[in-house]
């Protein structure tokens, strides 16, 4: 006998695809915010499935901090070539050179919050009316209140106390000139769902997610990769460890965990047994209790 219900991954997939098709139907110039991280890779994979046999009707937009893992850039370029989509790059280095933003100083300096200006400038220059992101509500408490279709005013800002109510699957995408939307198709997915789906669909992800040997130092409770951008104190020791990354961001603030998980199956098993949230290794979220909320209000992803 046939079963007439979907399992949870199938239902989440169907919901995300519905959302992506609503974007295609409602906006003139939508882009997928592509960081090279697993969540934006999953969103891109979903977009491919949503429109097949047609091509993805969105460009990919990478907000490039300049502090990248080389593996991420290589992965990005290969994916763009295989999908035949257009790639837009917003450069944080250019925003710094143009005097739009100033680099943070000190050992814990990051370019994380500088991305906001670069992103908003790119949205304005390219006349982007919708930026699709891979943010999930389970990641962080400010994100738990986020809508699927999240309105941004003409300053690109989020007003969490004045959000449009979102009922059933009826998404209000109306906006005035200069305003835009952020749309989050995988809002209802958890970290476990993302990994379960990557395994189920056998989606290619950057090698950084798999356990590998790397030169690292111990800082803020995680293994920070050695890179040319990292300021190293005298008392900090560079060691070689077998690690992998649970999330990918700016190379200066993305901490790895010690792991032997070198296959997708092992990663899924490891994530299932994990007792800390994935953003626990992200220095950008540790600055204060409302660090994410504050950045989101300004126009962060």
């Amino acid at each position: 006998m046939n079963k007439y219900y979907l399992n949870h991954l199938e239902e989440l997939e169907s919901e995300a695809i519905f959302v992506l098709r609503e974007v295609a139907a409602n906006f003139q110039n939508p882009v997928i915010l592509f960081s090279g991280g697993k969540d934006s890779i999953v969103v891109t994979h979903l977009a491919k499935k949503a429109f097949y046999p047609a091509k993805i009707p969105f460009s990919l937009l990478h907000v490039d901090t300049g502090h990248n893992f080389p593996e991420t850039i290589e992965f990005r370029d290969n994916l763009v070539a295989s999908l035949g989509v257009n790639l837009l790059v917003g450069s944080v280095q250019k925003s710094i050179d143009d005097g739009r933003v100033a680099e943070e100083r000190g050992k814990n300096a990051t370019r994380n919050s500088l991305q906001i200006t670069t992103l908003l400038d790119t949205i304005e220059e390219e006349r982007i009316d919708c930026a699709i992101g891979g943010a999930r509500r389970d990641e962080e408490k400010a994100r738990a209140k986020e809508r699927f279709f999240s309105h941004r005013d003409d300053f690109g800002q989020w007003d969490p106390k004045n959000q449009r109510p979102e009922l059933w699957n009826l998404f209000n995408a109306k906006h005035f000139e200069g305003e835009h939307f952020r749309v989050f198709p995988i809002s209802n997915w958890t970290e476990m769902d993302v990994w379960g789906y990557i395994l189920r669909e056998n989606i290619a992800i950057p090698s950084l997610y798999y356990a590998h040997e790397r030169k690292v130092l111990w800082r803020n409770n995680s293994w920070i990769p050695k890179s040319e951008y990292l300021q190293i104190d005298d008392n900090e020791e560079i060691v070689t460890k077998k690690i992998r990354f649970r999330t990918l961001g700016d190379i200066t603030i993305t901490g790895g965990i010690e792991s032997d998980a070198d296959t997708l199956e092992k990663i899924v098993a490891e994530v299932a047994a994990m007792r800390e949230t994935e953003r626990g290794n992200r220095a950008d979220d540790k600055r204060s209790e409302s660090a994410m909320e504050d950045r989101k209000r300004q126009g962060y992803f």
Binding site: K145, L167, E293
Partner: protein
């Protein structure tokens, strides 16, 4: 792997901090081991700083900065946990009267509602309000949790009293499947683990009930409806002749060979194939996202609805509906709105207010014709073109709509077609 076969259950919890709602959610997450150590650390520190005894589980549901400062919930927050049997999405909504709109929002996608009652107080106005909203939004399953049983000496008599109070209220509404569970969210009794203090209770603890609610039959499998989102026409050599209609099956089942009608045009055709990604499918059922192709080349575009020839919705320009007003600006008479129904957008006008519902007394006010924030009213709406409607009771997807104010672009009302 169990992950692959488990179903998704969406449920809503409404209530104020005093009901122990946040404690209950914290308890569900904590006892089902869905809370991570760094989250627990943060909560322990905050509990200590605030001088609470032990870990305050309610802090897990803290949200925005204003909410933490004021100790109230402003907006719907979504929370996630899973057990080997199911994955759960909680729409956690505030219960104060001014937040009716958030309860309606949370309820709109829920399969089940948890209604909390403080065992000491019994039914209060808020209980009725929650139950009315659950029935208005046609949530299929209601679980009434009589909380704080520890404060009434785990009394079976008190529990039974509240159950009969609730049955009297529920009989006036359309609540289909009601379960009653005596719990203590604070102590953990009958939340995840069976209570040792209430051996008189023979039913299942809350989590077990949530894991076993029969939800497969909640979706309408009879009336096949498919709202077209967008047309797929690949501009490539390989797929030159492909023309498909992308959408999500709202209800019912479609198969290749089915005789279908495209509404509103009324053109008849047959489904030639159903595709998803690189696979051709034998059938598509709700809520699958697929691409339908038709045998004949007819004009189909976004907002059209594909249905089976022998089972069609009503085309209507005059619609009677219950609406919940969501905006702080009151409804002005004869204002024009955009109405979004499935993927179809039209202009609409509220022609008449039949009555306003007092959701505390469940009485109808026939004289008050002002619609303000959080009001629930029965109205008559006129649209510029016919909508393809079913009643909300029979079909959530084709019986619901939203109104959008063209001056502000804000979503101002949620409607359920009668």
């Amino acid at each position: 792997m169990t992950e692959q076969t488990s179903q998704l259950l969406r449920f809503t919890t409404a209530g104020s901090v005093d009901d122990g709602k946040s404690t209950l959610i914290g308890r569900l997450l904590y006892d089902s081991k869905s809370i991570f150590e760094d989250q627990l650390d943060a909560i322990e520190k905050t509990s200590l700083r605030k001088g609470h005894d032990g870990v305050d589980l309610a802090l897990f549901t803290d949200g925005l900065r204003d909410e933490r400062e004021q100790g109230i919930t402003i907006d719907v927050a979504y929370r996630y946990f899973s057990t080997p049997k199911r994955k759960f999405i909680i729409a956690d909504t505030p219960g104060h009267i001014q937040y009716t709109r958030n309860m309606v929002t949370g309820a709109s996608t829920a399969n089940a509602a948890i209604i909390l009652i403080d065992a000491r107080n019994g039914l209060v106005e808020q209980t009725k309000r929650h139950s009315y909203i659950a029935s208005l939004l046609q949530i299929s399953h209601v679980i009434v949790c009589v909380n704080k049983m520890d404060l009434v000496d785990w009394s079976e008599e008190r529990f039974n009293e509240i159950v009969s109070q609730y049955e009297a209220v529920a009989s006036k509404m359309l609540v289909k499947d009601v379960h009653y569970i005596p719990i203590s969210a604070l102590k953990g009794d009958n939340v995840v683990n069976r209570s040792e203090n209430m051996s008189w209770y023979m039913g299942a603890p809350l989590l077990h009930s949530l894991e076993t609610l029969h939800i497969s039959s909640d979706i309408n499998k009879v009336d096949a409806r498919f709202a077209v989102q967008t047309v797929i026409r690949p501009q490539s050599e390989e797929h030159r002749d492909f023309r498909g209609y992308a959408g999500r099956v709202s209800s019912g089942i479609f198969r290749p060979g089915d005789n279908v009608v495209v509404l509103p045009s009324g053109f008849q055709s047959k489904i030639s194939r159903i595709d998803f990604d690189q696979k051709s499918l034998d059938e598509a059922f709700a809520p699958m996202s697929v691409i339908l192709s038709l045998e004949t080349d007819i004009d189909v575009s976004r907002g059209d609805m594909i249905v089976k020839a022998n089972n069609q919705p009503q085309p209507e320009q005059d619609v009677e509906a219950m609406i919940c007003w969501l905006n702080n600006k009151p409804a002005r008479p004869r204002t024009k709105f955009s109405i979004l129904h499935t993927t179809n957008e039209q202009k609409a006008m509220i022609r008449d207010i039949v009555y306003k519902m007092n959701i505390d007394t469940l009485e109808r006010d026939m004289d008050d014709k002002e619609i303000g924030m959080n009001d629930i009213c029965r109205v008559k709406i006129r649209t510029t073109q016919p909508l393809m409607i079913d009643s909300y009771r029979e079909n959530r997807a084709t019986g619901s709509f939203i109104l959008i104010d063209d001056a502000t672009n804000e979503t101002v009302a949620a409607g359920m077609i009668l």
